[in-house]
């Protein structure tokens, strides 16, 4: 995920995929990107990676109180 608030980076990255945005759209995409970054952090923190890398060692969910 590109850096939050880095509008120039967002514009350059998207232009490379054929997406060209005006400034207002760029600001809206940057706001969505901020939300995406937050959700990504939550998702990463919900997963326990195995300490071994063998195929039979799989990720698990982080236990939660009462869930």
């Amino acid at each position: 995920m590109t850096e939050q608030g880095d509008l120039a980076h967002v514009r350059t990255h998207l232009a490379a995929t054929g997406i060209r945005l005006d400034d207002e759209e760029l600001a809206q995409v940057a706001a969505i990107a901020t939300a995406v970054r937050h959700e990504l952090a939550q998702i990463r923190s919900a997963t326990v990676e195995p300490t071994a890398v063998a195929a039979d060692h799989v990720p698990t969910l982080v236990p939660t109180d009462g869930r």
Binding site: M1, T2, V10, H13, L14, T17, G18, I19, R20, L21, E25, Q28, V29, A31, I32, A33, T34, A35, V36, H38, E39, L40, Q42, I43, R44, A46, T47, V48, E49, V58, P59, T60, L61, V62, P63, T64, G66, R67
Partner: protein, 465 residues
């Protein structure tokens, strides 16, 4: 025989019985369907294409077949509709926005071909919210369908038109596509039954894709039995996981069926409407009275699972449509453009992390389904509301009860389970393990044998009453 016929004949099974007994012909049913579409669609906006002449010709042909003793099965002569994403020979392909493929499909999609082979009359293609946007895209360039219970409220999406057409009695059933709730949200908001199928169960050949690892084709109709009859036509016998037919699995008895209730999140999230929660708890009691055993199950990180499905949908949709962006970018809907752009920002490392979580979540559900046969949750946070200016960040962050099962590739059935004080539909969701559609439909049918929420017709608008 008139459009009012479809007020009395509300399900595919009822139409099938009457056709088989000679009490009604396919031409009469299809003509009633077309009359109702002509009457209601200017207000409700459910159809992008109506195949009037070919539908009537097909109905005449099916009536002649029946007169010579050939009966194709329960869909023989029954009028249906399919979402615009699903290819139908000689019908335009707009997929809810101006960036859709312009040329009509040269051949039927596999799903439409299988329905036709089973005797169904596909009367048209229905409106869809543009691509990934399940809520109303406020784009004046496209036709937005309206909820028949209150046209000022959202019909849900993106299989909106299919849901509206079933709820308003324009057709007796149809097909939608579901990526993270696009069959289930319209079913819940419009008050009918809808099934999101196990990923890979129903052919997607000839169907416009959004997010290939999440998309599925699913039946939409008033009852679970109607959905079972549709699914029987869509799934080859060899794929039915031990059942000769889905219809045959519907016994009305739930003895021995174990139902799990994931209380945390699904019943405790702060934005859950109390009426929806109460109706779902009542539905669980009905299932218990039908013989099922009820227990609580733990399902951690349901909110993250919903977000993960959403992010995968954005990334896959962005990649899947990448080649069209350069030439068609302005023609994608305004909201769709921004969401696809956000999806294009996700990196390979981001997606790897999401897919590791997906693997862990799937494994947890696999273990859960060793202990229970199905999970029951509310099918909505709240009944349909009036469309508001969209907060795009909330598209990513808002909780819902659909994406979790899409992420895991599981089938989920939505059944109507009440009306709120404003007369808007409330719905409950039943989820089961992969390829366990027979279990889902059995549970939904048992519930509907003891309730009649699925048979309610919109009454607030005079044209739809």
């Amino acid at each position: 025989m008139s459009a009012r016929t479809l007020d009395r004949i509300r399900t595919i099974e009822e139409a099938a019985r009457l056709i088989r007994e000679g009490a009604v012909t396919s031409v009469e049913l299809v003509a009633a369907s077309l009359e109702r579409i002509e009457s209601l669609d200017p207000l409700l906006g459910a159809f992008v294409f109506v195949a009037r002449e070919s539908a009537l010709a097909q109905a005449e042909s099916l009536d002649r077949e029946l007169s010579t003793g050939r009966h194709r099965g329960p869909l023989h002569g029954v009028p249906l509709a399919v979402k615009d994403f699903i290819g139908m020979r000689d019908a335009p392909f707009r997929v809810g926005c101006l960036a859709g493929p312009e040329a009509p499909a040269h051949v039927d999609s596999s799903a439409v071909r299988m329905l036709r082979d089973a005797g169904a009359v596909v009367v048209g293609k229905t409106t869809a919210h543009p691509y990934v946007t399940r809520e109303d895209e406020l784009d004046a360039r496209t036709r937005n369908p309206r909820n028949p219970w209150d046209p000022s409220r959202s019909p849900g999406g993106s299989s909106s038109g299919a849901g509206v057409s079933v709820a308003a009695g324009m057709v007796l059933g149809g097909l939608g596509t579901d990526t993270t709730g696009s069959v289930r949200a319209p079913a819940a908001y419009n008050g009918h039954t809808g099934l999101s199928t196990t990923s890979g169960l129903v052919s997607k050949s000839g169907v416009v894709q959004l997010a290939p690892t999440l998309d599925n084709v699913g039946p939409m109709a008033r009852s679970s039995l109607s959905c079972a009859l549709l699914l029987d036509a869509l799934v080859p016998l060899a794929e039915k996981a031990g059942s000769l037919s889905y219809e045959a699995a519907l016994t009305g008895d739930l003895t021995g069926v174990r139902i799990g209730v994931p209380v945390e999140f699904f019943y405790t999230v702060s934005s859950l409407d109390p009426d929806v929660r109460a109706a779902t708890i009542l539905a669980i009691k009905v299932l218990e009275e039908s013989g099922a055993t009820i227990s609580e199950v733990a399902l951690p990180h349901a909110a993250e699972a919903r977000s993960a499905a959403c992010l995968i949908a954005l990334a896959e949709a962005s990649q899947h449509h990448r080649r069209r962006f350069a030439e068609k970018w302005p023609e994608y809907g305004s909201i769709t453009r921004l969401l696809f752009a956000a999806g294009a920002l996700l990196s390979a490392a981001d997606l790897a992390a999401i897919n590791r979580f997906r693997q862990a979540f799937q494994e947890h559900l696999h273990q859960t389904f060793a202990e229970v046969d199905a999970i029951v949750t509310p099918a909505m946070l709240a009944p349909a509301t009036k469309p508001a200016a969209p907060d795009l960040a909330s598209f990513v962050t808002s909780p819902d009860f659909y994406g979790q099962w899409s992420l895991a590739g599981l089938p989920a059935l939505v059944v109507p389970s009440g009306l709120n004080g404003e007369g808007m539909p409330i719905a409950t969701q039943i989820v089961s393990d992969r390829f366990s559609e027979a279990t889902l439909l059995r549970i939904g049918d048992a519930y509907q044998r003891r309730t009649d929420w699925h048979l309610q017709l919109p009454g607030r608008h005079p044209a739809a009453a």
